[in-house]
């Protein structure tokens, strides 16, 4: 990591790549510090974070019950999953412009787009997790006369929890990767459009600062939030 940054700095300093195409690492860091105290920049970052997170939770809210039904009821799975697969096979980014027509440009469209992108990883991992629940777990629940709600709370949910975390993690990574496309198409003032505008205006160091900010957020949420969750799961999971 450190080596990479040193190499980057060296390449730019030696003018191997002109600085209007690639600013030096130190310049980007300096720009990033300026940006970090700029309310406009912070607002854009928060806006993007808010939109994407809300989109992921919306996806979770819709995908979970469907995935549970598919995992537990074979009939539902056989009829419904092929449809999901066909929709999932369509390029996600191609669906996005259509969503703008439906929802109009703005944050709503960005949230829905994020949830479309986040839907598939959550659906398929949770469905898989539900199918993987050993049948004897249900037998234990039945023998001890557990009601339906208790069986869900004490057997189904803890069983699929690790799969759900994996699904969310995949969704989260994917959604941040396509943030630029989502925000440009939805015409939202977020960090994605900030990067795009910086490139167009020739202030390349701002674009790089934006990219670094996105990277830092995605990486820290991935490591901290998901890292903690997975650490807890690893305590008991074989």
């Amino acid at each position: 990591m450190v080596g990479f940054f040193i190499a980057w700095e060296g390449v730019s300093r030696a003018q191997l790549i002109p600085s209007e195409k690639m600013p030096a690492f130190s310049t980007v860091i300096a720009t990033l510090t300026v940006c970090a105290s700029n309310w406009e920049f912070i607002y854009r970052v928060l806006q993007s974070f808010f939109n994407l997170t809300l989109g992921i939770f919306l996806a979770l809210f819709i995908a979970m019950p469907l995935a549970l039904c598919a995992g537990l009821r074979n009939k539902f799975d056989v009829t419904f999953t092929p449809i999901i697969m066909i929709v999932g096979a369509l390029p996600d980014l191609a669906i996005l412009p259509v969503l703008v027509i439906w929802f109009g440009p703005g944050n709503m469209a960005a949230i829905v787009m994020a949830s479309v992108c986040a839907f598939f990883p959550v659906y398929f991992t949770v469905r898989e997790g539900t199918k993987d629940i050993p049948h004897d777990y249900f037998n234990v629940a039945t023998v001890f006369r557990s009601g339906k709600i208790d069986t869900f709370k004490k057997v189904v949910f803890p069983s699929i929890f690790p799969y759900m975390v994996t699904g969310l993690r995949l969704s989260f990574d994917f959604v941040w990767e396509v943030i630029l496309a989502i925000e440009i198409i939805a015409r939202v003032t977020g960090i994605g459009t900030f990067i795009d505008a910086s490139v167009n205006q020739g202030t390349i160091e701002y674009a790089f600062a934006g990219i670094m900010a996105v990277g830092a957020i995605a990486l820290s949420v991935d490591r901290v939030a998901f890292g903690l969750l997975e650490g807890r799961i690893r305590r008991w999971k074989e």
Binding site: N139, V140, T142, V143, F144, R145, D150, K154, W236, K237
Partner: protein, 274 residues
């Protein structure tokens, strides 16, 4: 002796497109209070299905199960079960696993903790309360399975091949302990197994099922004193008897299979244009 559980004419058939697959046919036997009964039979004879029906996990196509005279149609609060796969919840600690049945019943936290700890101690896992199942060996996991089953204070403990997923040495120790628990409590134990020495070691009576469709082929009384000497002549005699019965069943099922094959061959032959 008091008749505690009656299995009356239990038949289990699975509907298939052309013919019914009959797994169990007219199974009838009685279990008395405090008895240790083993059910043995060749593989595929439906012995696990029978146990599931008794547990209320499966429904018979016809016939009845009665517990203390009362018809059993769903899992009974006084009937508990130990599983071949242990079926412990991996996200729960040992203590939480043993507490599970009590938790479902709404026993207050402190009370169920005390009960669970008592049974963890009974199965020799004192001090393991806060470990997760993945940290235990197979034999220890099954001890937790027994503690969980016993914690709800059942009248009957059902065991589906409870010792067959454990290495033999550990299984032997566990069997001895289960025999001890059986001796000390008034509880009834019902074990499905294909392990003959295991059945003779533990059972007061052995129900021998025939090959599919499973019927009661014979009921063998084991009136040896406990603890049982596996090398004693009586033990070996019973083993020989049971082995003979099962071998007969196996041969019968092979012959039946051959006859079926021949018939089908005949049918094909008849269909050929002359």
């Amino acid at each position: 002796m008091m008749r505690q559980m009656e299995v009356e004419n239990v038949t289990k058939a699975y509907p298939r497109s052309n013919e019914h697959l009959v797994a169990l046919k007219d199974i009838t036997f009685t279990v008395h209070k405090g008895e240790f009964v083993c059910i043995i039979g060749p593989s595929g004879c439906g012995k696990s299905t029978l146990l599931k029906i008794i547990a209320g996990l499966d429904k018979p196509s016809s016939g009845k199960i009665r517990f203390e005279g009362e018809l059993v149609t769903e899992p009974h609060p006084k009937i508990s079960m130990v599983f071949q796969s242990f079926a412990l919840f991996p996200w729960r600690t040992i203590l939480q696993n043993v507490e599970y049945g009590l938790e479902i019943r709404g026993v207050p936290k402190q009370q169920r903790r005390n009960i669970a700890q008592e049974f963890i101690e009974l199965v020799g896992l004192k001090g393991y309360d806060n470990l997760y199942p993945k940290q235990l060996s197979g034999g220890m996991k099954q001890r937790v399975g027994f503690a969980r089953a016993l914690a709800i204070d059942p009248e009957i403990v059902l065991m589906d091949e409870a010792f067959s997923a454990i290495d033999e040495f550990t299984a032997e120790t566990l069997r001895e302990e289960v025999a001890e628990i059986h001796g000390e409590t008034e509880k009834t134990f019902l074990l499905v197994t294909h392990n003959l020495p295991e059945a003779i070691e533990l059972a007061d009576r052995i129900v021998v099922l025939s090959a599919r469709p499973g019927r009661v082929k014979s009921v063998v009384e084991v009136s040896l004193g406990r603890p049982r000497d596996k090398t004693g002549s009586e033990f070996i005699h019973i083993h020989k008897n049971l082995f003979h019965l099962l071998k007969e069943e196996l041969e019968n099922s092979i012959i039946r299979h051959k006859i079926k094959e021949l018939r089908e061959f005949q049918k094909l032959h008849d269909m050929e244009p002359k």
